[in-house]
Each structure stands twice: as structure tokens, then as C-alpha cells.
């Protein structure tokens, strides 16, 4: 059973619908007992870091996630769920969960490409350059593009945590992978077939 962590984040239903479409059973919950019994954990999220962390702390889910990560259970972070697994986020100057060393940064205001100022948020389809193969990205075409909506990006301090990068006026880490954790800035649940493939792979992944 896949558990989607319920912490008042925006895209939980979309993730659930995507899992349903690939025939995967799931439960949406903030109950740590139910989360304990899950084989895989999805940590989604749309919203602001400050509010999200406040809610997680209130439910003690931040410590649960740490224990879960140490226990080796496969964890998938999406968007905000990727940003707040680092130590700190510039959004609302928030101390975060700290599964991975590093911080979440805001895009600079004046990102440029070919003399044109780029819009923040970075919104739309964009590619990912992978640094190495990973079981969660098996059968995902190299040229596949994914749907991004964000103003902040994860910046892990250890380069080895970076699995994939994306260019938007600058190169940023769009996928990070450490042990049993894989986390992406884009939305697999809104990225069409390649996105569903990632979810399928994750559900079959043993975290190794």
C-alpha cells in the first residue's frame, strides 16, 4: 500500500487520481500508524514552506519522516515536498525537515535568456538532464519533458545528491536522489505519460 502524506497541501487529489489511473492502491493520511504500515510514502505538496512546516510540526510528521527515511522505506517528494526535505527554505525563512543537507532558494529576480527577462514562477514544460540512471526513471524517455510550477528550487549541499538538473536562465537541481529517497521539483502527476511512468516505477521500487 502506498501512503500519501496528508498535510493540507494542494495537489494531493491529483497525485491520488494519478495513482488510481495506474491501478495502484493508496491511502491519504496523516496518521503515523497508517503511515508505518505503508510500503511506500509519497510526500506531495503545493503551497508555502512556512505554513507546510507549521502543519507538519503540529502533527509531528517531520520527525516521523526522518525515522522513515532512516528505516529505508522508499520516499517520493514532489514540488514543495521536495523543497522542505532540505535543511532550510528561503520561502518564509523556514527551518525544514533536513533529510538532505542543503537549502531551498528563490530564483533570482532578473533571470535572463538571450537578453529577455524570464518570468518567475518558472511555469510550464521543461526537460531534465540526468547525471546517472536511477530505477525510478527507467523507461522514461531522455527527451521527455515535465510540468513545472515553482519560484523556489532545491539546492542540496552535496553534489552527489543531485540526480537531474534543469535549465531556466540558470541550471538548478530538479531531481535529487539519496538512498531510499527520490524527490523532484516538477509534477509527475501532471506530466502526462512520462510522469505516470515515474509514479509506476516508484511504486515498484524497493528503495535501493
Amino acid at each position: 500500500m502506498i501512503a500519501i502524506i496528508d498535510y493540507n497541501a494542494g495537489n494531493i487529489t491529483s497525485v491520488a487520481r494519478a495513482l488510481h489511473s495506474i491501478g495502484q492502491e493508496y491511502v491519504i493520511t496523516d496518521d503515523t500508524k497508517l503511515l508505518d504500515s505503508a510500503t511506500h510514502v509519497i510526500f506531495p505538496g503545493v503551497g508555502a514552506a512556512g505554513e507546510a512546516m507549521a502543519y507538519l510540526k503540529q502533527k509531528n510528521l517531520h520527525t516521523w519522516l526522518k525515522t522513515c527515511f532512516q528505516g529505508g522505506k522508499p520516499i517520493l517528494g514532489i514540488c514543495l515536498g521536495t523543497q522542505i526535505i532540505l535543511d532550510h527554505s528561503e520561502e518564509n525563512d523556514t527551518d525544514c525537515i533536513g533529510l538532505v543537507a542543503g537549502s531551498t532558494r528563490r530564483f533570482p529576480d532578473l533571470l535572463e535568456d538571450a537578453g529577455r527577462t524570464l518570468k518567475i514562477p518558472h511555469m510550464g514544460w521543461n526537460g531534465v538532464k540526468f547525471k546517472r540512471p536511477h530505477p525510478v526513471f527507467v523507461d522514461v524517455p531522455k527527451e521527455a519533458e515535465f510540468y513545472f510550477v515553482h519560484s523556489y528550487y532545491p539546492s542540496p549541499s552535496d553534489d552527489a545528491a543531485v540526480l537531474g538538473t534543469t535549465d531556466y536562465g540558470m541550471t538548478f537541481c530538479s531531481v535529487l536522489a539519496v538512498k531510499n529517497l527520490v524527490a523532484m521539483q516538477f509534477h509527475p502527476e501532471k506530466s502526462g505519460r512520462p510522469g505516470l511512468q515515474i509514479l509506476k516505477n516508484f511504486c515498484a521500487w524497493e528503495g535501493k
Binding site: L118, P121, K190, G192, L196
Partner: protein
């Protein structure tokens, strides 16, 4: 906006150009026309940094997909959910739905369509038509749409843009603009005028000014419909 030349706009409006490359190849204007899409909608984006997007636009009346010619004589042509699925499977990047239901008591049918669409396709989609206030926006978002598009209501009361952006984020708020070409004048220096209520009512508002104003108010995207 100022990079749009009238020739490109016309080509897109006629729906003949599937792709129109603008000045210095900075933008790609993608016009999408298909049998069931009576209106060509187009979008512009940076070729280099962000991929070109193909966004079919579907009109829904009383829960049925409908097609008209120049917005008149609409006939029902099927289930919007099935057609959305077809586009999704063909590789559309996003889908836009317009609810053109005339009577407000049938609006809830659209919410049901949105819910079914969200269960069927796994790409972003936006919903517009008859969105008058925050509550209308909330209903559409809760039913599963990523974005809400406002058009006439924003012209009549621009606050809906800023309120929507504050409540749901700019990425959620799309300004739909219906534009007619006119004379370049004092009131409309760009030569394009905003029309509302399905193109029936001229507003005297300059299209370029309105686009900038909407951006200032917090609109995250503009969906431009030519009423040439």
C-alpha cells in the same frame, strides 16, 4: 505583447498557421486547429528555455462539447471528457475548457465535467466561462483544474484577478482576452480593442494596456482569442 505583428495574429486567427515564427525566432506562436476545435487558440513562449505548448481549446455547453462557426449556430458534438482524453493521448500539453452554458442553474454540470476530466487526463488544464467571483474559482480548482480563466468578469471588475492571485497564486489565474482589430487611435494605441460577452460588446479598452494591467494585478498567463 508588442512583438505580435498583425500578420501573425491574423494567421493564427484564421487557424491556418500551425506554427508561426515571430520576430528573430524569439517566440513561437502555436495555433492549434482540429476538427472539433472551432477556435484556434495560441500561446507564445520562449523557444529556448520553455517548450512550445500545444493547447487545444474546447467549448462546453450544458456539459456537452459544442462547435459553432464564428461563435454562432453551435451544435453538440460529444462528450468533452472523451475528447479531452483523445487530446491527452495525442500529446497535448495542456487543455483549455470554456463553459458557454447560458443559464446559471446548469453551471454545476460543468463542475462535474471538470471532476471527470481530472480523473481522466494527467496534464494541466484550465477552465473558464461564467467565473464571477472567488467562490466560482474555488469550486473549479477543488474539482481538479490547475487554472481558472476569467474574461468578461475581469473587465467589469478587475479585482477578481488580484483576489484570485492572492487566494490561489498567480499560476492559477489566467486572463482570457477577446481582441478585435480596430484603428490605431487615442483610446486604443495598439490598434486592438478588448471585446466582452462573446464578442458582442466593445469596451473601448486597449488590448495591450489591459494585458499589462492584468499582469500587474497578478494574472499568471494570458489566453488570447482573436475576434477578427
Amino acid at each position: 505583447m508588442k512583438d505580435i505583428d498583425s500578420d501573425g495574429l491574423k494567421k493564427c486567427a484564421r487557424g491556418k498557421a500551425h506554427k508561426y515564427r515571430g520576430m528573430r525566432h524569439t517566440f513561437t506562436y502555436a495555433a492549434v486547429t482540429r476538427d472539433v476545435v472551432q477556435r484556434s487558440i495560441w500561446t507564445f513562449c520562449e523557444v529556448v528555455m520553455i517548450s512550445k505548448r500545444i493547447i487545444p481549446c474546447l467549448d462546453v455547453r450544458d456539459g456537452k462539447l459544442t462547435k459553432g462557426i464564428k461563435f454562432k449556430g453551435n451544435i453538440d458534438i460529444g462528450d468533452p471528457v472523451e475528447v479531452a482524453r483523445e487530446y491527452y493521448e495525442q500529446g497535448a500539453d495542456e487543455i483549455v475548457f470554456y463553459d458557454i452554458t447560458a443559464s446559471s442553474d446548469k453551471r454545476d454540470i460543468m463542475i462535474d465535467v471538470v471532476r471527470r476530466v481530472a480523473e481522466t487526463i494527467f496534464i494541466p488544464f484550465s477552465v473558464g466561462g461564467g467565473i464571477r467571483n472567488l467562490d466560482d474559482m474555488r469550486k473549479v480548482i477543488l474539482a481538479g483544474a490547475e487554472k481558472v480563466s476569467v474574461n468578461s468578469s475581469a473587465v467589469l471588475d478587475p479585482k477578481i484577478i488580484s483576489q484570485g492571485a492572492k487566494a490561489f497564486g498567480s499560476q492559477c489565474v489566467v486572463l482570457g482576452m477577446d481582441v478585435k482589430k480596430g484603428d490605431i487611435g487615442k483610446q486604443t494605441p495598439s490598434g486592438y480593442e478588448i471585446v466582452i460577452e462573446g464578442g458582442r460588446r466593445f469596451t473601448g479598452i486597449d488590448a495591450l494596456w489591459w494585458a499589462k494591467e492584468a499582469e500587474r494585478l497578478g494574472a499568471g498567463e494570458i489566453c488570447l482569442n482573436s475576434r477578427l
